[in-house]
């Protein structure tokens, strides 16, 4: 575990060095991130122009949820998304062989090797929005709330990573990559609003089949004091199950992989 942490720090360092070569793009990226979050807030504002609650959630609550959404999305764009086209290239060019012969876990390597730092702006903006929402709500989370929040956010991160890996592993058979990351974004969009907004079977599907509910809704409700022990445990269980699935699928794909080079 510690070794992997050290390797990750090394990835971090090399990518940072690489990114610093393109410092001039920083302003443009900052602007586009700011623009993105402003648009999301405006969108919520349009809805609240007509109502005062969404799925039982008031405006500040939805802002907190949106903050979590933005943070998670920023993390995906920071660590996971940049690696997807590279895996495709590895598979097509046959260079995946080099990855497989390295003395690190191949799934770890292909999923976290490349990082795009400016996306961390989205994470910071997201955290800012969470704090702003809490201030608007005049609510200070208790230590217990924060504890439940942290547990459920860890589960959410693990679920996201697993879903992403499940999707990314299909690269061994499906060729076009942009489509896969687009598919993920489309799914992720469903977590932008409180899950209580969806009715009937759709809500069940988004909770148990595609665990969207555990990504933003559970952490957000924990943070505003509406946590529920059962749901938090469920999110951890779902996270472990999906991680196991992703792991199995990756191993299965590797077992069927025949190099392209020779």
């Amino acid at each position: 575990m510690r070794r992997y942490w050290r390797i990750f720090k090394e990835f971090f360092r090399t990518c940072l060095v690489e990114e610093l070569e393109y410092r001039s793009e920083f302003i443009g990226n900052l602007f586009s991130s700011l623009f993105g979050i402003i648009v999301s807030i405006l969108m919520v504002q349009i809805f609240f122009y007509q109502t005062d609650q969404l799925g039982g959630w008031a405006f500040p609550d939805v802002l907190i949820l949106l903050g979590i959404f933005n943070t998670l999305q920023g993390l995906v764009d920071f660590a996971l998304r940049p690696n997807m086209p590279r895996l495709l290239l590895h598979i097509r060019m046959g260079t995946l062989d080099y990855v497989l012969t390295k003395p690190v876990d191949s799934m770890f390597f292909v999923s976290l090797r490349h990082l795009v730092f400016w996306r961390l702006i989205d994470v910071l903006l997201g955290i800012g929005l969470i704090i702003y929402g809490l201030v608007q709500k005049h609510f200070i989370p208790s230590l217990l709330d924060v504890g439940f929040f942290l547990i459920s956010i860890i589960a959410a991160l693990l679920i996201i990573y697993s879903l992403w890996m499940l999707l990314m592993t299909t690269a061994f058979w499906v060729i076009r990559m942009d489509d896969l990351s687009f598919l993920f974004s489309s799914f992720f969009e469903t977590t932008r609003f409180p899950i209580t907004m969806y009715k009937g079977w759709l809500r069940l599907a988004l909770t148990y089949v595609l665990p969207a509910a555990f990504l933003t809704f559970t952490p957000a409700s924990s943070l505003i004091g509406k946590w529920n022990g059962g749901t938090t445990v469920a999110s951890l269980v779902v996270a472990v199950v999906f991680f196991w699935l992703a792991r199995r699928f990756w191993k299965f794909a590797l077992a069927n992989y025949t190099s392209a080079s020779s």
Partner: protein, 257 residues
């Protein structure tokens, strides 16, 4: 001209089938956002569910049929230098783009119209009762919308001769259009100021205006303003494309030559 078109249409048709899977992914993926927005509105006004279903299903349809993607392709080709091959061809590149649009939108029609008919059996609010002339107006508005959106995207593609980050700028414009093209809400639910602004910008004519005709929410005055507005924008954009194309070719220095 017609024989040339027939030939490139056939080429694009064959090309389309080699990307079947991704076409499907994109078609269904773009439905998600309108469907989520629909859920939000049905939550806010539970008793008007039917009208929101009609609005947002029509939105998906109109959005697909007017969608434009040329700027992404052109940006890539100009950056990689492969756009030069297009320029030296005797047939203007815009015709290739138009042919591609016709082929893909034909596919969307073939998939979406039967889906609509099947859906309308189960969801009565999707059954349309438009008169003959209303259909005519809708198709005219839809065509103008498709032309405006295509021209807008192609124009940004040409700007790629000067700028390196055209797609980022275009994406920004697309995002702005969420609010004023009627994608996020029917116009009747938007603040009056947004409604007023939308009359002067091209976005409403890309999606919102055909939609208003299809859902029978457009009155006489909206129709008049709508057709005048969309005609003006069509002409403006075509003039801009012709002029920018000439200027752009002079400016163009192929990469990797």
């Amino acid at each position: 001209m017609i024989t040339k078109y027939r030939a490139i249409l056939r080429m694009k048709y064959v090309e389309m089938f080699s990307y079947q899977l991704s076409t499907m992914v994109w078609m269904f993926g773009t439905m998600i956002q309108p469907l989520i927005t629909m859920m939000v509105w049905m939550n806010i006004y539970p008793d008007q569910g039917d009208s929101f279903i009609l609005y947002f299903i029509s939105l998906i349809m109109v959005e697909r049929l007017t969608s434009a993607w040329d700027v992404w392709e052109m940006d890539r080709q100009i950056r990689e230098g492969t756009f030069s091959y297009q320029i030296v061809r005797p047939f203007h590149p815009i015709h290739w783009a138009i042919a591609e649009n016709i082929v893909y939108k034909g596919l969307f029609l073939v998939i979406l119209v039967p889906s609509w008919i099947i859906l309308s059996i189960f969801i009565p609010s999707l059954q349309l009762h438009l008169s003959f002339s209303q259909w005519g107006l809708f198709i005219a508005a839809l065509l103008l919308g498709a032309i405006i959106r295509f021209a807008f995207s192609f124009m940004f593609g040409i700007l790629g001769f000067w700028m390196t980050k055209v797609t980022a700028v275009y994406a920004t414009f697309e995002t702005v259009s969420l609010f004023i093209s009627g994608r996020i809400a029917p116009f009747s639910l938007l603040p009056p100021l947004v409604k007023k602004i939308s009359t002067f910008l091209p976005y409403r004519y890309m999606i919102g205006f055909p939609l208003e005709i299809l859902t029978e929410t457009a009155d006489r005055q909206t129709l008049l303003v709508g057709f005048i507005g969309s005609s003006i924008w069509t002409v403006l954009l075509i003039v801009a494309i012709v002029w920018l194309w000439k200027a752009g070719l002079k400016k163009n220095q192929a990469v990797g030559g």
